[in-house]
Assembly symmetry: C2
Homo-oligomer: 225 residues x 2
Amino acid sequence: MSELRERPTHRPAASPRELGIGMRFSLHPHCDDFVAVILGALNDARATAEAGDLVVESDDVSTYVGATAVPAEERLVRYLAEVVVAAHRRSREGHVVAHVLLSRGCPGETTCDLALTGLPVVEPVRVPATGVECRAQWSLYPLLDGGPEGSRDHMAHIEAAIDAARLRGVASEPAHYATRLGGDVAEVLATVADAWTAVGAGVPHVVSHLTLSVGSPSVGEEAAR
Amino acid sequence: MSELRERPTHRPAASPRELGIGMRFSLHPHCDDFVAVILGALNDARATAEAGDLVVESDDVSTYVGATAVPAEERLVRYLAEVVVAAHRRSREGHVVAHVLLSRGCPGETTCDLALTGLPVVEPVRVPATGVECRAQWSLYPLLDGGPEGSRDHMAHIEAAIDAARLRGVASEPAHYATRLGGDVAEVLATVADAWTAVGAGVPHVVSHLTLSVGSPSVGEEAAR
């Protein structure tokens, strides 16, 4: 083997824009004045979005947030934690659910050409504790391209992510199609973001979905039992 | 090449249980009496779940529904359409969002061993029109295993699914990380289910996520412009 072949390739890491690092989230305050709660929460976190150079675009179903500067993932998660906690504080009974889709590696809907781009290795995100507990269900999708029948590559990534979340004390029991998470909103979001970036160091296109619930009366019922 | 090699393999198609065909959904009525709306809607559709031999298990974050009999996907979608419409009718202002995860090919959290099982070819689902319009955002994830760098297999599946949804008149413009859908709740759910089963005829593990919104005041605002 030639020396040339064994030398690792050093390609410049792709920027957040080139990787299409961002998220979609929808916010569901379970109260009659949900419009005021949603708009209020987005407004409460606007300064954080601006300071983080995040692109925020809301439509009739969800809100897109695109990152333009590093550390991209930390900026996204800090903003999201602020929005969720603001909605929780503003809503009448405090029950708010957020659905979150984190995506990297596929900037457009139908283009996904990152084969020649270096994938960044990302430090774990640092997110200040919020003091607000949540329950969540989490899924992680490494979008590999087809290989030999019977290999289990995509599940190996998922299993490693679940193991890491268990070590942090955030993942509890498995559920069908998802892993149950619990803890401070900041720690749950950080766990999900770190798993997403860890897979993203080796796989260009990685998506993660999270359903995060705060202030649920179901949890109160369990505690009262 | 020997005749033997060219002959297609005929393996018995996996059952819904073996494939782990099912879904998780969460229901978000945006009103103060959300608990009554959610429990009422689940109760309204209970007879359909029982008649369809569906396994329904709710927890504090979402509801799991597992299929045990064919046509598995049609049973799931008919039940879900009924739940969503019931919640819409029961909620005060009618604004309800459902978040849906459809999954096939990975029965457990960390087991995904279907290499030796035949994948079923599924007929398009038939779902009666509900008369309730919705807006939705949809993502489809073919979970292939790793192959040669630079191949674009997983995106080819996604592009074909979006083309099919456009032909049905259900998909509108693309958005970051999702495709926007609109139409009768039944037709939107059928489009998503048919895309999921079409990919599932060739890829064992396929997941699809959908955020479906009915009765949104944002839509009323747009219409009034």
